[in-house]
C-alpha cells in the first residue's frame, strides 16, 4: 500500500544571533492510511516540533528535508515547499491537529457552533445552514447529549473533556486523512482520558483517517497505537510495533524509560524504582556521540561517546539507534 505521509530527513532548527538549537534532527518515517502511530518522548525531545512542522506551523523554525503527503485527490506534494497560502488549504482539509490545552486553541468570545462552522466554511463551499447541520451532526457523533445546546455554548461553559471533544469536532469537520494529536489527553483526568481515547478509536474506525499521536505517556501509547516511535534529543531512537517495543525494547533509553514506570503490578511496591540518572540534555549543547550515552548504563567509553549511531533497520522491520543493541539483546553487553 502506498503511504499517506513520507517524512524524510526532517530538520527543524531554531536560531537567533547568539545560538542555534536543532529541535528535530533528521527524522524520517512513513505513515500508512488508517494507521495510528505514537510518537513518544520526554519534554524537549522534539516530538511537538515534529508535529508542528508537519502542519506547517513551526514558523519560527528553519525547516529542511521533505514531508510528502498524498492528498485526497491523489496528488502528492512536499508540504515543506508549499507557500503559506497553499498550506492554509492543506490544514484542516488534508491534515488537522488537536492540542493539549483546548482552551488556548478555542476562541473565548465565539460560540462552539460559530467555531466549527468557521472551519467548515473556510474549506468547503457550503451555506451557513448546511455547515450548521454538519457541525451539529459532528457534535452528536462525538457523544454530546445535547448538541444543539453545545452549539450555543461558549468554551468557558464546557468542561475540559467537552472542550477537547469540540476541538476534535473542528479538526474532523473537513474529514482530513491525517490527524496529528499532540498530547490531547495530558491535561485531562484518567476517566476523561479513557473517554477521549475510546472516541478517537471509534472515529478512526469510522473515517479511516491516520493518526500521529504525540505523547509522553506509555500507557496511552499501549491503549491507542499499533506502532510507536521513541524520540530522544531530536532523533527517533526506536521504531516498531507497540507490542514488540514494549516487550523487547532495543534502545537502552526505551528500556530504561519503561523500567522506571511504576505500573500497577510490575515493580514490587516499596522497592526502588530503576530511575534514569541525570536529565534530558539541553538541545543547545548535545553530548558528542550518542545523545543518550551520559545516562546509559551500557555506554562504552571510546565508542558511544565518540561515534553517533545511525538508525539501523533489522530484518523484523524494527529500527533502533544504538551501536550496541545486538550485544545488549544477546545479553553479552556489560
Amino acid at each position: 500500500m502506498r503511504s499517506l505521509l513520507e517524512v524524510r530527513d526532517l530538520h527543524a532548527r531554531f536560531s537567533d544571533r547568539a545560538r542555534s538549537v536543532v529541535a528535530v534532527n533528521g527524522v524520517s518515517f512513513d505513515l500508512a492510511p488508517g494507521e495510528t502511530v505514537a510518537l513518544v518522548g520526554e519534554s524537549g525531545c522534539g516530538k511537538s516540533t515534529t508535529g508542528l512542522a508537519l502542519m506547517g506551523l513551526a514558523s519560527a523554525a528553519h525547516l529542511a528535508g521533505s514531508v510528502t503527503l498524498t492528498f485526497k485527490s491523489g496528488e502528492r506534494r512536499n508540504l515543506v515547499e508549499l507557500s503559506d497560502r497553499a498550506m492554509q488549504d492543506v490544514r484542516g482539509n488534508e491534515v488537522a491537529m488537536i492540542f493539549q490545552e483546548p482552551m488556548s486553541s478555542l476562541n473565548p468570545v465565539h460560540t462552539v457552533g460559530w467555531q466549527i462552522r468557521e472551519a467548515i466554511v473556510r474549506h468547503q463551499s457550503v451555506t451557513r445552514a448546511t455547515a450548521d447541520d454538519t457541525a451539529l451532526g459532528l457534535l452528536n457523533q462525538l457523544g454530546f447529549a445535547d448538541g444543539q445546546r453545545c452549539m450555543h455554548s461558549y468554551p468557558h461553559q464546557l468542561s475540559g473533556g467537552m472542550r477537547q471533544r469540540v476541538m476534535i469536532a473542528i479538526a474532523l469537520s473537513c474529514r482530513p486523512s491525517l490527524l496529528i494529536a499532540d498530547e490531547p489527553t495530558t491535561a485531562l483526568d484518567v476517566t476523561v482520558q479513557a473517554q477521549i481515547l475510546e472516541l478517537l478509536k471509534r472515529l478512526q474506525a469510522e473515517t479511516g483517517m491516520a493518526i500521529l499521536f504525540i505523547t509522553h505517556n506509555f500507557g496511552v501509547v499501549a491503549g491507542i497505537a499499533q506502532r510507536t516511535m521513541v524520540m530522544y534529543a531530536g532523533q527517533i531512537v526506536e521504531d516498531g510495533a507497540v507490542d514488540e517495543v514494549f516487550h523487547s525494547p532495543r534502545m537502552p533509553y526505551t528500556r530504561a524509560l519503561l523500567d522506571s514506570l511504576p505500573h500497577l503490578g510490575r515493580v514490587a511496591p516499596g522497592a526502588r524504582l530503576p530511575a534514569i540518572p541525570g536529565q534530558v540534555p539541553n538541545p543547545a549543547a548535545l553530548p558528542p556521540g550518542c545523545a543518550f550515552h551520559p545516562r546509559c548504563r551500557h555506554a562504552l567509553p571510546g565508542l558511544c561517546d565518540v561515534q553517533a549511531p545511525s538508525l539501523e533497520e533489522s530484518a523484523d522491520q524494527r529500527l533502533v539507534r544504538c551501536l550496541r543493541w545486538k550485544e545488549i539483546a544477546a545479553g553479552s553487553a556489560s
Partner: protein, 326 residues
Amino acid sequence: MTPPPVLEVTNLRKWYEIRRGVIPHVVGHVRAVDDVSFVIRPREVLGLAGESGSGKTTIGRTLLRLVEPTSGRIDFHGTDVTTLDPGALRRFRRKAQIIFQDPYSSFDPRMTIEHIVAEPLRVQAMEPVAQRRRERVAALLAKVSLSGDYLERRPRELSGGQRQRVGIARALAVDPEFIVADEPVASLDVSIQAQIVNLLQDLKETLGLALLFISHDIAVMRHIADRIAIVYLGKLMEIGSAREIVESPRHPYTEALLSAVPDPDPRQRRQRIVLRGDIPSPANPPSGCVFRTRCRYAIPACAQTLPQLTAVGAGHYKACIRDEVP
C-alpha cells in the same frame, strides 16, 4: 498494637460560600470537602487519590491550615489544629510541611536557592547564625542529592527535577514529622519522576516521616503509599491498604478509576469501564451518593441514602450501600 496516629481528621468540611446579588448574599455552597475523616499513623504514607475537582488538594491544604476549614477537627498528636492561635500555629508548622506540584510558582524567582531553603528557618527563628544556617542548608541540599554549588543559584537555572528537590529540601528544613506532598511528580518528566519517588521513599525511611501523598496517578501511589484513600466530589469513597484498593477495589468509583489507568503493557489490556459524563458540580451535588449519576451499579435507593463508610475488610472501608458490588 497500632501506635497513636500522628494526625486524626474528623468530619472535615470546607464549604465555599457562593454570593450573588447587588447586596451580595449567600445563595449556596461549593462543597469542596464534605465530612471527610481519616487518620495518618507515624511513618505511614497515606495516598489521597481523585480526579481534578475531587477536593484532594483542598484537604491537603486544610490540614496545614493554609485553607481554613468550615468545620471538623484536625488533631495533630491529640491537639486540635483548627483552634490554634497564630503563635501555636507557627509552632505546629515546624512539625508539618508541604511540597507543591510546581515548585517554580512557589519560589521567589529573585531569591537564591540558599535563601529559599532557609526561609522556613527564618520564619521559625531557627539557626539565627548565618554560618550555621548556611551549613544546615548545604546539608539539606545534600539530603536531596544537590551539591553545595546550588546555594548561589536561582530557580530559573534549575531543571524541573532539581527544583522539586529544592522544594523538598525546603519542606525538610524545619525537621517536620509530617509532610503533605501535593502532586510532587505530576509536572516532571517520566525519567525524572522515578528519581523523585525514590527520594521521597528514602526520606520517609531515614527521617521517619509521615506523608500525605496527593496524586491522580494511581500507579505511582500504589508504589509509594501504605494505604490509599479515594475521594470524589469532596467525599471519601473508599479507604484501605494500597494493595487491597488496587487489587480488590470495593467501591464502584475506585473500580472505574483503576480501569481507566492506561497500562503501559499492551498485553495487559484490561476491560475498561468508561465513565459517562463529567464530575457533577460540587455546588449542586447529586442527592444520596454523589457518585450515583455515573455509577453503573446505581439503584433507586442510591438517590435517597447518603452512604456511610462501612468496613468491608480489615482496615478497609467503603461508602456504598451496595455491599455486593463490584
